[in-house]
Amino acid sequence: MEKFGKAQPVARFEDHRFVTGHGRYIDDIAPEGALHAVFVRSQVAHGTLAPVDLTDVREMDGVRLAVAAEDLDELGVRNSMKATVVKNRDGTKGVKTLRPILATGRVRFVGEPIALIVADTLAQAKDAAEAVFAEIDDLPAKVDIAPGGETLHENAPENVAFTWGKGDEDTVKSAIAGAAHVVHTRVVDNRIIVNSMEPRGCVADWDGERLHFGFGGQGVWGTRDELAKMLDLKKKQVHVTNPDVGGGFGMKGMDYPEYFSIAGAARALGRPIRWMSERTEAMLSDNGGRDLISDTTLAFDADFRLVAYHVETVCNLGAYNSQYAQPIQTDLFLKVATGVYDLRTVSLNCRGIYTNTTQIDAYRGAGRPEAIFALERSMDNAARTLGVDPLDLRRRNFIKPDQFPYKTALAETYDVGDFERVLDRVAREADLAGFAARRAASEAKGKLRGQGLCYYIESILGDKEETSAIEYGDNGKVRLYVGTQSNGQGHETVYATFLSDQTGIPVEAIEIVQGDSDLIKEGGGTGGSRSVTVQNTATLATVETMTRAFQSYLAEKTGEDGIEFDDERFRIPGSNETPTMLDVAAMARADGREDLLRFQEKIELESRSFPNGAHIAEVEIDPETGLVSVDRYTVTDDFGNLINPMLAEGQVHGGVAQGIGQALTERVVYDGEGQLLTATFMDYAMPRAYDLPMIGFTTEPVPSTTNPMGMKGCGEAGTVGALAAIANAMADAFSTRGLDAPDMPFTPERVWQALQQEAIAAE
């Protein structure tokens, strides 16, 4: 491990600019004199839209351009967004919907863009947008997640987008029929609004030949390719950049219709245009997350060993296919559907449903939190139903250390793991032994206390390939070009520290360059907890190439063989000279050897790694108010080797908080007409500081064998584990009253109502 980073909790280099107010987010970098874009959005969830007449609006003060769907042709912008579709169980393909850039003939959710207004000032653009009259003939809104209802898309009968499935259902059915114990569980995974603190925004500029498009995103190359296609440009005519990004969580990893109409408008006007979403606009138009219901069946033999697992899921897609929506509750759910258990007989079915609500797509974890929540909530329910200790039930079914590498029944091959060790550790850290006394103390105060365990595993995802380039500047600086994209995780610090550890180049001399499609040829962006593993593997390969090239060069210069590099200096036999990387680069520059001033390597991970760990939550419920407080929260993770433990721990804190938020406070409410009632922070309860406890964090690392650093990835793990930990703790607390817990989110009103069952039963 020593070679691969000293595992120091180094404070972040990027923080100076953030704590002094000098971060450069998208709305901070609009070119001088940029015009302002505002969207006219649908105020009804479903209806027929008449052609939009913008003649009068175009005459309003300051208005430079007003565009509806009918005008996109003239703007040279294609009116259809791309999306991935999955394969159905019967081999046919999922439904492809036409998702327009601007609503065309029909509106399908509140917030759908109908027209784009570009004006000199923001106030003028807003005034003009308000003056637009969109004539909409209302249709009934479809908002529940079940087949049927008013049809949204002609080619999706019953509003079913796909009927996906994996695993042999007949085998699973017969295993269940012959099992000693069978437990059914309904798991409701509530919808959330992502709410990165910085909403989405972009800046577009056309210089006569090339488009520059800046946006708060999770990578630049995919968006560049898509802009080129949608605006009929050559890729080399499109320059895409990501500045500092105020949180993304998967939501900013997808393209949105606003980007294409604004880019087209900038080209038409030859002027820079800026757009910044407001909060309500974000809540109406950003892809949401989760929103599925899974009915699970777990079957056990007489010794409580798992013999079969079946899951029947329905998931909400919103009004259209978003870019990567269809694969989430299907192909990605599948990755870790069987969790950490030795479970060979399994089948999954999932139906995707269109509704008159905003699109659903990736949210932190994308498919893995959903799969683990379904499984771990079901395991907990089985333990309770069958009268088995929840830790014991899990231990009986763990994949054992000597079974690795372990090919799961339907998907991945886990490389390594030691789940018993992690579980032992978390039980100690969470003071399981002291729980009975804590519960008694809560009861003495008239409160309910519950404890919940979740043992999660997740798979890092995203592009397995990545590129690093190292370049020596003539100013003594070394630039490291990366293909990932920080959204706040601290990549600048991690990458610079890693390069410095490998080469002896002082961190002060290293500049990280990210998020620029002109300066960097390709990359995979941020997503799927991939960044540090894949980027550092690429950097390591580039350092190796550079070291060999410098050794050959020094050998040529000195006539000596056997030159070695010790991570800081080159050692030349028979010489007292011990040049550093920077020294050798300076010599090469003096010799005119430009070929030795830039190195680039591209790597591909041989396979994924599998972060795993255990979360134990303890909740206390005040039955008078229904208020739930998370009294203790303890995490033991196996992330393999850590590069910067402080930053990894920070990822866990944030991930857990997003999970607790979904479980306790965050409730999305659409009324029967498809109006979003929770469209501001006054109505949508983001978790506050007083909603959360300090989070205990320890690690029991088993280094991964699939990358040279032995890393596993840590960005999404906290969210993956938190949902079931909280839900299981709530089930435990409710069990003390002989009751079932309600569905998430456990808002005070819902918890109080559920506790009234007890009073009713008593009467």
């Binding site: 404070a11 923080d15 100076h16 603190m197 500092d244 909060r279 501001t680 922070f681 506050r688």
Partner: protein, 165 residues
């Protein structure tokens, strides 16, 4: 248009603004000081917190003309040259930020708290931050940073009770 003069981070400034211009727009658009952020438009998130005549104010909820004659301090005015303010330093040292978007507001809020209550408890800090939303950190290290900035011991990596317990 309204003419106004005020002091921002110790420097006198004058500007012509529309009546509807918000203080945050004056700071960001007219004066080019983009450290004060807009995160919600409805006074919940606190990304736009500044100090006006010593009071902590959400700059998205105050008209610019209401600041006529006032002394305004923004995040850009917290450091002393290259020397970070102790709260800024504590956020950096204790990893009290990730994406950084809520951070200016968090720091301005923490400064207001410590002025009134120099040694707040963990629970007091958590309740004080009611008007500041962070999506990245789970507040864990923000609370630790504010404890550190107040010169108090910082809890280490073990589970502790909640603020309400």
């Amino acid at each position: 248009m309204e003419s106004l003069s005020l002091t921002v981070n110790g420097k006198p400034v004058s500007a012509e603004v529309e009546g509807r211009t918000l203080l945050v727009q004056l700071l960001r658009e007219t004066l080019g000081m983009t450290g004060t952020h807009v995160g919600c438009d409805t006074s919940q998130c606190g990304a736009c917190l500044v100090h006006v005549n010593g009071d902590v104010v959400k700059a998205c909820t105050m008209f610019a003309f209401e600041a006529d004659g006032a002394e305004v301090t923004t995040i850009e005015g917290m450091a002393d040259g290259d020397d970070l303010h102790p709260i800024q330093e504590a956020f950096r040292t204790h990893h009290g930020l990730q994406c950084g978007f809520c951070t200016p507001g968090m720091i301005m809020s923490a400064a207001a708290l410590l002025k009134e209550n120099p040694k707040p408890t963990e629970a007091e800090i958590r309740h004080h931050l009611e008007g500041n939303i962070c999506r990245c950190t789970g507040y864990h290290n923000i609370v630790r940073a504010i404890l550190a900035a107040s010169g108090q011991p910082v809890p280490e990596r073990t589970a502790t009770a909640t603020a309400d317990a």
